[in-house]
C-alpha cells in the first residue's frame, strides 16, 4: 500500500503540494523526513513573500544536517506553519498532515505541471535508492 496520499502531487526534491482552489499547501514527504532524521528547526518565509517555481523558500534542519526547501509552485506565501516553531517534530510525526510548511496563493495556471502523482513518486523514490 502506498504511504503517499493520492490527493496531492510530489516533486523530485521531495516536497508535496496539495491544491485547493487557488491555495496550495506544501510540505516535505515521509521519505524526506526519514532521510533527514529528527527535525529540530524549520526556517520559513513570512506571509506576503513571493517565490518562483523551484525557488528556495526556506530550510529545514536536523541535528547535523540542513536541507533547502524548494517551492514546487510559483506563488505568494499566505501562511507559514507557526506551530513548527514550538513543535518541529511534527514534520517527523505527521509529514503529510500537521507537519505542513506553507500555504501559497498560486499565481501560475499550470500549478501541478512537472510534478508526480503518488504512484510515480513512490517509484521515483525506489529508483533513487537503487542509484
Amino acid at each position: 500500500m502506498s504511504s503517499y496520499p493520492d490527493d496531492r502531487f510530489y516533486s523530485k526534491s521531495h516536497e508535496w503540494v496539495r491544491v485547493e482552489g487557488d491555495i496550495a499547501t506544501i510540505g516535505i514527504t515521509d521519505h524526506a523526513q526519514k532521510e533527514l532524521g529528527d527535525v529540530v528547526f524549520v526556517e520559513l518565509p513570512d506571509a506576503g513573500e513571493i517565490f518562483d517555481e523551484g525557488q528556495e523558500f526556506g530550510t529545514i534542519e536536523s541535528v547535523k544536517a540542513v536541507s533547502e526547501l524548494f517551492l514546487p509552485v510559483a506563488g505568494e506565501i499566505v501562511e507559514s506553519n507557526k506551530g513548527l516553531a514550538d513543535e518541529p517534530g511534527a514534520v517527523n510525526e505527521d509529514p503529510h498532515g500537521d507537519g505542513w510548511l506553507v500555504k501559497v496563493k498560486v499565481t501560475s495556471d499550470g500549478a501541478a505541471d512537472g510534478l508526480m502523482n503518488a504512484a510515480a513518486y513512490e517509484a521515483f523514490v525506489e529508483e533513487e535508492a537503487k542509484a
Binding site: 529540530v40 528547526f41 534542519e61 541535528v63 514550538d86 517534530g89
Partner: protein, 509 residues
C-alpha cells in the same frame, strides 16, 4: 561512573546522586562566599557612583559566589568527566590527537614569555621577537616556503589569511577572479574560508579512488578561478598521487594552489609542500606540532607562502637578526592585520619547543603515524567496510556499511567505543563517505594501545552482528547516558533557552 542499565548500585541513591549528577556552579553556590583575597586598598577609595553617575552599575546580578575550595572541587570534578589523550588513544581523525609534551607547558609558562605584554618596547622584548623569528625559520625549513606568517589564530583562520592574500595578489595583477575550487572531500572550513574572502565555491568531484579527477579539474580550471584548495593527504588519508600535474594545471591558468596543512603530520620531514607546487599552506600547530587541544582551542595556524605571495603577508612581520629584532609594519601590499598583536604566542612557544625536541629527526613523526594507521587498517579491514582502498597515510576512513545491515550506524559504534574506554573516531566528514569512521592514531601510541583499540573495534563489530541493541543503546558506563541532541537543539531554538540559571542558590537547611 554509573551504569545506565540494570546493575545495582551499592551506594544509597541519594548519596550516589551527589557524585553522579552533573551540575554547574550556577546551580549551587552560596551567598557571601568569595575565592580571591586582594591586598588592602593602599590609595583613597574612588566613588564609582560619583564618577559614572547614571552609567554606574551596582552589581553583576546572578554572578557566582564561591570559595577557592568550592572552585577547586567543582573544576576537578568536571575534569573527571572528560576523556583525554593523557588517559587513552583518542583517534579523532583529522585532529591529530598526539601526546602533548609537558616541557612545552613548562617553557610557555616562563615569566619571560607568559608575563610579557605585547606592547613591551622592542628593546625589552628581544627574546620574544627572536622566538618568532626562530619559529618562522624552522617552519620555512620544513615547508620550503619563502616566508611564514605566525599571526593566524587557528587553522581556519590560516585558510582565510591565505585566501585573502591570494585575492590581494589577483587584484594587484588586475582582477580578483570569481571562483575557488574545492574537492568534495574537503574540510568544511575550506569552502567557508573561500566564501569569507568573497569567492564563490565550486566543488570538484573526486574520482573512484577518492582523489582529484584531473579531467574534472581541467574542465573547471578556467581563468576565472582564483585558487584550488587541496588537502594532502586528503581527508581519506590518501596522498594525491597526481599532485604535481594538479599544480601544473592550476598554475597554467594563473591560479594559486592552496594546501590545507591539517594533515601535515603525515609527511612532515618527508616532503616539503613548496616542492609540490603549493603557493600557500597553513599548519595546525595544535596538530602536527603537539600543542594541546585544550577542549577546543587555542589553536594556531601559521601560513607559509611562495615568493609571489610574500608582499601580501599580514603585518607586522618580524625582521632583523641577532643584533636586533623588530616588528615591521611598512609593507604597502599587505592584506593588513588578522587580529590584535602577533598571534597565539604561547602556542608558538610550545611548537618551537616541540620542533627542537625532534630537530632533524622529525621525519620519524610522519613515518610512525603512517605506520600506526596502516597497522590499524590491516587489523580492522576484515571487520569494517573501506569504501576507498587506496594506500592510507596517517589515517584510515572506514564506514558502517557492514553494520548498517543490522541497524547499527557509525554513531552507535562511536558511542559503544566509549564503553571500551576510547574516544570515538571522526564521523562528520568526509562527506563522500556516508557513515564514516575516520581513524587517526598518531605516532604517540604504543603497540599495546593500538591492539586494545583494534580489539575494541572488532568486539563492537561482533556485537553489531549478535546483539545490535547493545550497540545502539550505548554508551552504558560513561558519566552520562546518550544525550538527546535533537531534543536539546529543539529546546535551544526556543526563546530564552540560554539564560544562565538565576534561581535562588542552594541553602543549607
Amino acid at each position: 561512573m554509573s551504569d545506565h542499565g540494570n546493575l545495582t548500585n551499592p551506594v544509597p541513591a541519594a548519596l550516589a546522586d551527589r557524585r553522579r549528577k552533573s551540575s554547574s556552579i550556577f546551580d549551587a553556590f552560596r551567598p557571601g562566599r568569595k575565592g580571591v583575597l586582594l591586598p588592602a586598598l593602599d590609595v583613597p577609595a574612588a566613588d564609582p557612583e560619583a564618577l559614572f553617575g547614571a552609567l554606574h552599575r551596582a552589581e553583576v546580578e546572578g554572578e557566582v559566589e564561591a570559595s577557592e575550595v568550592d572552585a577547586i572541587r567543582h573544576f576537578t570534578r568536571l575534569s573527571q568527566k572528560n576523556m583525554s589523550i593523557d588517559a587513552n588513544l583518542y583517534p579523532l581523525g583529522s585532529c591529530t590527537m598526539k601526546y602533548n609534551p609537558r616541557i612545552n607547558e613548562e617553557l610557555a609558562r616562563l615569566p619571560g614569555f607568559a608575563d610579557v605584554h605585547p606592547y613591551t618596547p622592542e628593546h625589552l622584548s628581544q627574546g620574544a621577537l627572536e622566538l618568532l623569528a626562530r619559529l618562522e625559520e624552522a617552519l620555512v625549513a620544513l615547508t620550503g616556503f619563502a616566508r611564514v606568517t605566525l599571526q593566524p589564530s587557528a587553522g581556519a583562520n590560516g585558510e582565510l589569511t591565505a585566501c585573502l592574500m591570494i585575492r590581494a595578489a589577483h587584484v594587484k595583477a588586475g582582477a580578483p577572479r570569481k571562483y575557488v575550487l574545492v574537492p568534495d572531500s574537503a574540510h568544511g572550513t575550506n569552502p567557508a574560508s573561500a566564501h569569507f574572502a568573497g569567492y564563490a565555491v565550486q566543488e570538484l568531484a573526486s574520482n573512484p579512488r577518492g582523489t582529484l579527477d584531473l579531467g574534472e579539474l581541467e574542465k573547471k580550471m578556467t581563468d576565472e578561478v582564483a585558487a584550488v584548495m587541496i588537502t594532502v593527504p586528503n581527508t581519506l588519508g590518501v596522498f594525491e598521487e597526481n599532485i604535481l600535474e594538479v599544480t601544473k594545471i592550476v598554475h597554467a591558468k594563473g591560479g594559486y594552489v592552496y594546501l590545507d596543512g591539517a594533515n601535515f603530520n603525515a609527511f612532515v620531514g618527508k616532503v616539503r609542500p613548496a616542492d609540490l607546487g603549493a603557493d600557500a599552506m597553513h599548519m595546525n600547530l595544535h596538530k602536527t606540532f603537539s600543542t594541546p587541544h585544550g577542549g577546543g582551542g587555542p589553536g594556531s595556524g601559521p601560513v607559509g607562502v611562495a615568493p609571489a605571495l610574500v608582499p601580501f603577508l599580514p603585518v607586522p612581520t618580524v625582521e632583523g637578526a641577532d643584533d636586533g629584532w623588530r616588528l615591521e609594519f611598512d609593507r604597502p601590499d599587505s592584506i593588513g592585520r588578522m587580529r590584535t598583536f602577533y598571534g597565539n604566542y604561547g602556542v608558538l612557544v610550545r611548537a618551537l619547543t616541540y620542533i627542537h625536541s625532534y630537530g632533524n629527526e622529525i621525519a620519524e613523526v610522519a613515518e610512525t603515524s603512517v605506520l600506526n594507521a596502516n597497522y590499524l587498517r590491516k587489523k580492522l579491514a576484515p571487520f569494517y567496510h573501506l569504501k576507498y582502498d587506496a594506500p592510507s597515510y596517517h589515517e584510515v576512513v572506514f564506514d558502517d556499511k557492514l553494520q548498517a545491515a543490522k541497524g547499527v550506524h557509525n554513531i552507535d559504534v562511536a558511542k559503544r567505543l566509549m564503553d571500551y574506554g576510547f574516544h570515538p573516531p571522526t564521523m562528520s566528514f568526509p562527506l563522500i563517505v556516508p557513515g564514516a569512521l575516520m581513524i587517526e592514531p598518531t605516532e604517540s601510541e604504543p603497540v599495546e594501545e593500538l591492539d586494545a583499540f583494534a580489539d575494541a573495534m572488532i568486539a563492537i563489530a561482533k556485537e553489531a552482528e549478535e546483539s545490535p541493541e547493545l550497540v545502539t543503546s550505548a554508551p552504558h558506563v560513561t558519566p552520562v547516558g546518550r544525550i538527546d541532541e535533537a531534543l536539546l537543539a529543539r529546546e535551544a531554538s526556543k526563546p530564552g533557552s540560554f539564560a544562565p540559571v538565576l534561581r535562588a542558590p542552594v541553602r543549607r537547611s
